[in-house]
Symmetry: C2
Subunit: 326 residues, 2 copies
């Protein structure tokens, strides 16, 4: 089995790569080759099979065709300009998130000849925009309030149409905010949800730009990789024609996040959060979802954490070697 990952240099891409190397197989089939693609060169870890790293801008005509020329059996499309940047640079966001996605989908289509890979696309809960019900169900409409959310919603529509036409076998998964995100902050406007946990646990100050009553939906990086693997392997007959799924998540307020941090790491760590309201971020976040009823994904076997405590403990185990900076 050949696997292609677009956006392989990103946090989720790297963790997915590790997981695939560790597993060595997908759905019982041994992995024979992996292609890691990104706009910056992805690291190529050691593996018992061939790993090729490719660097290019897949939103340029012809680049996507090169990526699929060897007919990968499984494609993870994780590449995207994140929300904050897509809002700040309209042309870049549409070019990568819409045109790039379309070039990829068309590159697969143009191979023809019965080629029909499983394609897993990471969409986002940013496809939803306020006002919405207290819990957003599986048939609630998409009213994105950011250009990023708009571009992801368009990607979902294209994925459905191309799957319906038989060009590939697509599964779109709407990731909740991934928390706790390891490493440095990225340009996502949602970055503070991780920052207020990650920085204090490492002995650093974090900025909280929104009020503590802001409620939001989270899943750990480990869950994100789990969602991707499940989307890669689930029987397509079980999914049916509606190929885009809201993933399960833990819904908590910022106050509950901070309570969990205090509970696990103590007052001194929790005191490293500095309140500094940012009207721009507050306005964006006000339009974001707070809670989901992800019944369809749950019935299909997608699993997230059950509490924010669990999310913090996973971060301490997976990223900090079990140690908290006191």
């Amino acid at each position: 089995m050949q696997i292609l990952i677009l956006g392989a240099a990103g946090m989720v891409g790297r963790k997915l790569t590790e997981r695939l190397i560790g597993d060595g197989r997908v759905n019982g089939q041994p992995i024979t080759r992996m292609i890691l693609h990104d706009v910056v060169e992805p690291q190529t870890p050691q593996a018992p099979f061939e790993i090729a790293a490719l660097t290019s801008d897949f939103s340029l005509a012809g680049e996507a065709d090169k990526l699929v020329a060897n007919r990968p059996d499984l494609i993870f499309h994780l590449a995207a300009i994140v929300s904050g940047e897509a809002e700040a640079d309209l042309d870049k966001g549409y070019r990568i998130n819409l045109d790039g996605t379309r070039y990829l989908f068309d590159a697969i289509r143009h191979i023809g000849d019965g080629y029909c890979p499983r394609l897993v696309f990471t969409s986002s809960i940013a496809v939803f925009g306020a006002p919405f019900p207290e819990a957003i169900g599986d048939d609630f409409f998409l009213t994105p309030l950011t250009s990023y959310g708009t571009q992801k919603a368009i990607g979902e529509l294209l994925l459905s149409d191309y799957t319906r036409r038989g060009f590939f076998d697509g599964v779109g998964i709407r990731l909740p905010t991934i928390c706790v995100r390891p490493g440095k902050p990225n340009k996502a406007a949602s970055g503070f949800f991780s920052g207020i946990i990650r920085e204090p646990l490492s002995g650093q100050e974090a900025v909280l730009p929104v009020p503590e009553d802001v409620r939001h939906a989270h899943a750990s990086p480990r869950s994100a990789v789990g969602f991707l693997m499940h989307a890669a392997t689930i029987d397509k007959a079980r999914i049916g024609p509606r190929r885009n799924l809201t993933m399960p998540s833990v819904s908590v307020t910022v106050a509950e996040q901070i309570d969990a941090l205090r509970h696990i790491a103590g007052d001194k760590v929790a005191a490293r959060i500095r309140r500094e309201p940012d009207p721009n971020i507050m306005q964006m976040v006000a339009g974001w979802p707070r809670r989901f009823d992800a019944s369809r994904a749950e019935s299909l076997g997608f699993k997230a954490e059950k509490s924010f405590d669990e999310i913090i403990r996973l971060h301490i185990d997976d990223e900090l070697g079990g140690k908290i900076a006191n």
Copy 2:
């Protein structure tokens, strides 16, 4: 006030043009100039103001810029490849319905300098796909089952995002099936809904390709023009951020359509319908909506007919000079 109509040579475009010439003003402002655009040359009727007819393919780079260069105050974007053709020719459908729409929206954006016209976009109930509830409400999700519906749904998303960013003041209206459509059949898969009324009333045989229990949602051409005019003039503060609206319609089965025809025109006319099931059309229609709860549009003052009898009588009055072919 300057007005631009894209898709002006189509049936709705021609009727809208007539209505605008008859009214002479929009929202109390006198019309000073109209630009009628289509891929085939639109007719230029007599009018007490300047009318320019332009012919081009607006999905070619640069063409849309020419259309908006004179900063029309009001733009009607009616241009589209219809459902049957967009399904048969994937590239053409995406090129016109997606790329063309995007070129138009970007052309408006690139003018900048405070230019922010009202833009009325005709979307379609094809943005919805089965299974759905008995009546589709205003917050039901978009799951198109055709490429045409996919392209219209993408147009809606782009319209919302560009409106939110202040590039134009967009209103998307989801037209139900327009019935009775005058003139020759077009390539829309929904064409038979009009054909089974129009042809018998003109003394000709019509083909019915689906069973009589098929239920669907209709509005007259006169209502379609009414929707467009209302969308052009409604106060934007009343619409709010959700700029795409399902229009009101009359929900009837094909059997009820035929009953209304028989009731108005007699058995002999109704006998001109020949049953000839077409599996392709049956499959497409099976995924189409049957009934809407268009509460939002109704509360905003959009109005359709109340019965299918009324729809037939309007056709006889507006298109047949009050006469039925016995």
